[in-house]
Amino acid sequence: MSLESLNEILNKINTIKITHKHKRRIRVDVKADSLTTLLELIKGQASFLHLSAITCVDWIEDNQFELVYHVWSYEENCLISAHTRIDRDDAKFVTVYDLYKPADFFERDIYEMYGVFFIGSPRMEKFILTEWFGMPPMRKDFDSEAYVQETFNWTEYNPDWLQELSDQGGGIAIKPEDIRLSGTLHNKATHREREKAKKEHVVGKGWKS
């Protein structure tokens, strides 16, 4: 199949934006409501039979999730990455399980990690984080560090030999405690914002409740 005919198929979708990154990599951006149509088209007419992965990106500033469907064709040796964006507050999307069976696992994973619910997916339940009841941890507004500070304790380890080394001017430049407790590695503003956020709600808890 030539490039032109592939383009022709893709262009059947009205709102599509096609970017040829490489002769084997095509990025397409579509609206959320035409994504399944696109997948159906390229599966049915252009031999893209293999769904390699579904990924999700959290664009917190735009208040959107971006879902990326990577579909591979063994005949064309070509990967189409179909990007689409959905609303972050009402994170729901329709499943592609009926088109691609492996989508089951990807969708379950995304549901667990981002909280995007896939309507019609066969097993929308816990996948890997069986003990996790808080906010989906890959969301940008989940603060892993704060969660860790809140949940875990630390071993104090200040041996004499390390003290001696420090006294001689050597040792560790930034002590682990400093990193953990004051956030030296991040700029102060982020840290302050985080402190503010902590005051407002308990991080990691109370999500969806």
């Binding site: 069986t130 003990e131 892993s144 860790v148 809140e150 949940t151 875990f152 304790n153 071993t155 682990p176």
Partner: protein
């Protein structure tokens, strides 16, 4: 934001074993301690990269067997549990089950920085940080990863601890799990939720072998009683 207050462990110093009056019995006990320190079967729970340092420690270069240490496969046979690397919350459940299935005297060695403080996963929401909050750890071997020399050094230190188990207060730590079970159980429940339980009935074990202490029962064990499905052994019935 308040940090959750974890209960402070009760005093550990009262675990010194009473010396028997019969001198022969003492010699016998010392002999068993000596043999225990000379023969250690280890179960390596290879959770992370630290496991790669064990084969050199076992094979011809460093030869653990000359210290009487050899690898074993199941927790039932083993004396040492080597946790070699980061422990994710989900793995921790299995590590605890494995630890509880081991038979006393049992020792835990945490290898790599990850078991001490989470190591490079210190920010990760899914990785447990202090292993000794969930089970008594005898020796930590820090490093990322520790060299086989360090591993052997740690094992030697453990052997000395075992040899002096009855003589010194600072002995091996396994009894602490029975005597302060409530503390450990509380930490486990904080992480895994209220439904947490293992098929191993630690309290019954402590009762049977007379290993109960002040900290065996408490708030957390009461909570456990509420949700536990107790597994009684199947008795022969005529």
């Amino acid at each position: 934001m308040m940090k959750k207050e974890l209960k402070i462990k009760s005093n550990k110093t009262n675990q010194q074993k009473q010396k028997r009056t019969n001198p022969l019995a003492n010699v016998f006990d010392d002999f068993i301690d000596f043999c225990q320190s000379k023969s250690l079967f280890m179960l390596h729970y290879c959770t992370g990269c630290g496991a790669i340092e064990l084969p050199p420690a076992m094979t011809s270069r460093f030869d653990m067997e000359r210290l009487g240490i050899q690898p074993m496969v199941t927790p039932r046979q083993a004396d040492i549990l080597l946790v070699t690397g980061y422990v994710s919350v989900k793995t921790l459940k299995r590590v605890i089950l494995t630890y509880e299935q081991m038979q006393a005297p049992k020792y835990v060695i945490g290898i790599c920085s990850c078991t001490v403080n989470g190591g490079m996963y210190w920010q990760s929401y899914a990785t447990a940080k202090k292993l000794n909050e969930y089970m008594p750890v005898d020796v930590y071997i820090a490093g990322c990863m520790p060299r086989p020399e360090a591993v052997l050094e740690g094992l030697n230190r453990l052997k000395n601890n075992i040899k002096n188990d009855r003589k010194e207060q600072k002995g091996s730590a396994w009894k602490d799990y029975y005597k302060n079970y409530d503390y450990y159980l509380g930490n486990q429940q904080n992480l895994f939720g209220k439904e947490w339980q293992t098929p191993v009935d630690v309290i019954a074990e402590a009762k049977l072998y007379g290993l109960e202490g002040e900290g065996t029962y408490g708030e957390n064990t009461k909570k456990l009683k509420m949700v536990q499905h107790p597994l009684l052994p199947q008795e022969m019935k005529l």
